[in-house]
């Protein structure tokens, strides 16, 4: 029957292409870093990775990974509870709990899976999930797999959250869910206020720190550190795939009973492979490094402030941000693509985002800063943005 289906899919693919929404992948032939090499032979500056701390190619992490290859092999070929748990996995779980000042941690193949598997075991149709409208796709999928009643509040809108909490009072348990940093805008969730409302309306709080762990807060412990409420949210999810080395792996960290329960019931944990020992070992090394020194976080904070202030004074329209994400607003989808292409010609690698990834009429270039960037990298990017901004008539000449 494939013939008929083939035509059907081919048509859909054509529609995606005609709408200018076809995702083409650029091929990189170097390790991840501030400077990367494309298969075209070009060397470009990368301003669109989640390599916030510049650790994706860090020699100490690589060394730790190599040592684990020698001690613990390459793969575990098992889920955790059969024969896929090593001493390294347990150690990393403890380290992460220590880092976030939580009670216990459970590892997943990715934060996508952590978010996919957290709701269903914990909540039933008697309970309520109250979710920010701009939460990540993986949270949305996790919520879709859970039977709890769903409430949604406008992005970071505390009045709306309060309204939804009032509506959810008849449910048994309530869980407020938010991203720590919203990935497309870079704004930080008003977590202090969320926790206050949670206390007032007897709800639990879950925050996804994927774009904030390592980035936000003086020592990179995320949004709970920024608002001085460490230990006060019930559930934190996060990833080892962005600031924390960027390989793979995610986690849920929080209250002891919740983590213990997830270990018994969370489907992506029970039915998917254990992360390889080398990733666990590099994760342990990473937490040690972050506990010892603040150099990278400090540099990232300096880089972000520098870039955003220069771009603002050039006249770009930047979304208010408190993270390493800087959304340069262009509004028009086609313009965002043209701008990104011209930046690549100037040696700056960024991506233009448009509907449906961001709302219609909200197209933008999302710049992500990294501790791997040196001032000369930042200046080159700012210069290129300025040049093309003028060329395309966005900035005053």
């Amino acid at each position: 029957m494939y013939t008929a289906f083939k035509d059907h899919l081919a048509n859909q693919l054509k529609e995606i292409e005609e709408a200018g929404l076809f995702k083409n992948e650029r091929v990189i032939i170097s390790p991840q870093g501030a400077e990367i090499e494309l298969d075209t032979g070009r060397k470009v500056l990368n301003f669109c990775s989640n390599n916030y701390l510049g650790l994706s190619n860090n020699p100490d992490l690589i060394e730790a990974a190599k040592r684990a290859l020698d001690d613990h092999g390459y793969g575990m070929s098992s889920v955790r509870f059969i024969c896929g748990t090593t001493d390294l996995h347990k150690k990393l779980e403890k380290k992460i709990a220590g880092f976030f000042n939580t009670e216990d941690t459970i590892l997943y193949a990715a934060c996508f899976d952590a978010n996919g598997g957290v709701f269903e075991p914990l909540l039933t149709s008697e309970d309520a999930i109250i979710s920010d409208a701009l939460n990540h796709a993986s949270i949305i999928d996790g919520v879709r797999l859970c039977k709890a009643q769903r409430y949604r509040y406008e992005n970071a809108d505390m009045e709306d959250l309060e309204t939804q909490l009032q509506l959810a009072q008849e449910q048994k348990f309530r869980l407020i869910v938010t991203d720590g940093v919203f990935s497309m805008d870079g704004n930080v969730a008003p977590l202090k206020k969320i926790v206050e409302l949670a206390n007032l309306y007897n709800a639990m709080v879950m925050v996804d720190e994927s774009h904030s762990a390592g980035v936000v807060g003086e020592t990179g412990r995320g949004v709970t550190e920024l608002y001085d409420i460490m230990g006060q949210v019930e559930i934190i999810t996060g990833t080892l795939g962005k600031a924390f080395g960027g390989a793979i792996g995610g986690f849920t960290t929080g209250r002891k009973e919740i983590i213990e329960f997830l270990r018994q019931r969370s489907r992506p944990y029970l039915f998917s492979n254990s992360i390889p020992p080398l990733v666990a070992a590099a994760g342990i090394k990473l937490v040690d490094m972050m506990t010892k020194t603040n150099t990278l976080q400090d540099k990232l904070h300096r880089n972000s402030e520098y870039f955003i202030s220069r771009m603002t004074s050039l006249g770009f329209d930047i979304k208010p941000t408190k993270s390493a994400i800087c959304a340069v607003m262009l509004y028009d989808a086609r313009l965002s693509q043209e701008f990104a292409a011209k930046l690549l010609d100037e040696g700056i690698y960024v991506i233009g985002f448009y509907y449906p990834v961001v709302p219609k009429g909200q197209a933008r270039i999302r710049v992500q800063l990294s501790a791997a960037h040196e001032t000369e990298h930042l200046d080159k990017a700012i210069g290129a943005f300025g040049k093309i901004g003028k060329e395309l008539g966005i900035l005053k000449k």
Binding site: Y2, L9, I16, L21, F22, K23, N24, R26, I29, P31, Q32, G33, I36, C48, S49, N50, L55, S56, N57, I62, L69, D71, H72, G73, Y74, G75, M76, S77, F81, C83, T86, D87, K90, A109, A110, F112, D113, L122, H136, A137, R144, L145, Y201, N202, M204, T239, G241, G245, G246, A247, I248, E257, E260, Q264, R267, F271, S272, N273, V279, A282
Partner: protein, 415 residues
């Protein structure tokens, strides 16, 4: 919270119920590489002891193969540790493409897309290609990840009795009016070790104009004459529209999975599959290891041949000793004990004899179908298998179940 005592007590109570039912999952900590011989700390805090692993998915013994380790070392040096990106932003390296091509070539398909795991491949594939006008008809014993993928898809859903071709045919007739019909099965069923009847399924799909998806996670690398999977075993290479599989079992065991099959389907996944668009790319070091695995598999069938010999020896040994095992053609060989508690006690006694194998019971397998699932590896040598068999016989004698029928065992221990 408002993490009130009410909430805490609620979860505590549920946890103690799990414990009281004897189905609490306790993890054993491994201090060595994955292999036939492993060093285990169990229970937590106990001194580490050497045991023979009889329950991993390390079917080909490649999880700590020196060449794979070497390739991973080189991968770290040449392509770094992590990519810190999804594929379509800045997470695609040349080696990701290379691996996709290698998988396509190995499986005899048209194109391949990588996912962080086969769980994610299965979670993402259905929603990307089907809508409410379509129907998914799945075997009742397919893996949890397929079930979750179907739950996330708006297409209609129906099931057929496990490997029952008459029932499948009825369902295909019943749903003849649907736009797209997709039949879904595991290649090898993970709890029983039996193979899907792919030859008959392909014929039925042709007759009723349906497509077919096979999850070959427990077959890729070793089922079929050259280890291509169940489609090779049944002479159906090129006839399966979608194959999903994992690199987390026989193919090195680290992580990663894929959807491989018709070109347009793979392309559609690249545009629409949520775990592909919204989760990290596989790290270069893992890709480097898997590429080496395919080098090893393409150069010789030695490992899958040894696995086949090992599995046949093990089946014969258990049968002759008087155990009841599930018939099958795979290295998954369940030793049936029927009673849940007996399966746990048996597993503990085996551990004391230096054999690591886990007992499975409801809800992982049907009620009254508790078992020890043994999984054979090309990493096992004759002495491993002999020692394991002796231990099984010793513990079998202790519980006086050798030579007994199912009825006799359940009469003795209950269902």
């Amino acid at each position: 919270m408002s993490y009130s005592n009410k909430v805490k007590d609620f979860y505590r109570h549920q946890l103690s119920e799990i414990q009281n039912a004897g189905i609490y999952k306790e993890e054993r900590f491994i201090h060595s590489s994955q292999a036939a011989d492993i060093e285990v700390e169990f229970p937590s805090g106990a001194s580490v002891r050497k045991v023979i692993n009889m329950c991993s998915n390390n079917y080909l013994g490649l999880s700590s193969h020196p060449e794979v380790l070497k390739a991973a070392h080189e991968g770290l040096e040449k392509r770094g540790y992590g990519m810190s990106s999804v594929r379509f932003i800045c997470g695609t390296q040349d080696i990701h493409r290379e691996l996709e091509n290698r998988v396509t070539e190995f499986l005899g398909t048209e194109d391949t897309i990588l996912f962080p795991s086969c769980m994610d491949a299965n979670a993402g594939v259905f929603e990307a290609i089907l809508t409410s006008e379509d129907i998914m008809i799945s075997d009742r014993l397919v893996h949890a990840s397929i079930i979750d993928g179907m739950r996330l898809c708006s297409a209609q859903h129906d099931t057929f009795k496990h490997s029952n071709m008459e029932h499948l045919e009825e369902k295909l007739q019943l749903h003849a009016d649907k736009r797209i019909k997709l039949v879904i099965t595991d290649g090898v069923f993970s709890m029983d070790g039996d193979l899907a009847k792919l030859d008959e399924m392909v014929q039925l799909c042709e007759k009723y104009d349906a497509m077919i998806l096979v999850d070959d996670s427990h077959s890729s690398g070793f089922i079929g004459r050259t280890g291509r999977g169940t489609h090779e075993y049944f002479n159906a290479i090129g006839k399966i529209d979608i194959i999903t599989t994992t690199f987390g079992k026989a193919l090195g065991g680290a992580s990663g999975g894929c959807v491989s099959g018709r070109k347009e389907i793979v392309q559609m996944c690249r545009q629409r599959a949520r775990p592909y668009l919204f989760s990290n790319t596989i790290s270069p070091v893992i890709i480097a290891g898997v590429l080496k695995v395919f080098d090893i598999l393409s150069s010789s069938t030695e490992r899958r041949d040894k696995l086949e010999i090992n599995a046949a020896w093990w089946r014969k040994g258990l049968t002759e000793a008087g155990f009841i095992i599930k018939e099958g053609n795979s290295p998954i060989i369940p030793v049936m004990l029927f009673n849940a508690k007996l399966s746990q006690d048996f597993s503990k006694d085996l551990y004391n004899e230096g054999i690591y194998a886990i007992g499975f019971f409801f809800p992982v397998v049907p009620n009254g179908q508790a078992r020890i699932r043994t999984q054979i590896s090309a990493g096992h040598e004759t002495h491993h298998l002999e020692k394991a068999l002796n231990a099984f016989i010793k513990v079998g004698k202790k519980y006086e179940i050798l030579g007994l029928t199912k009825e006799q065992i359940t009469a003795k221990y209950g269902m």
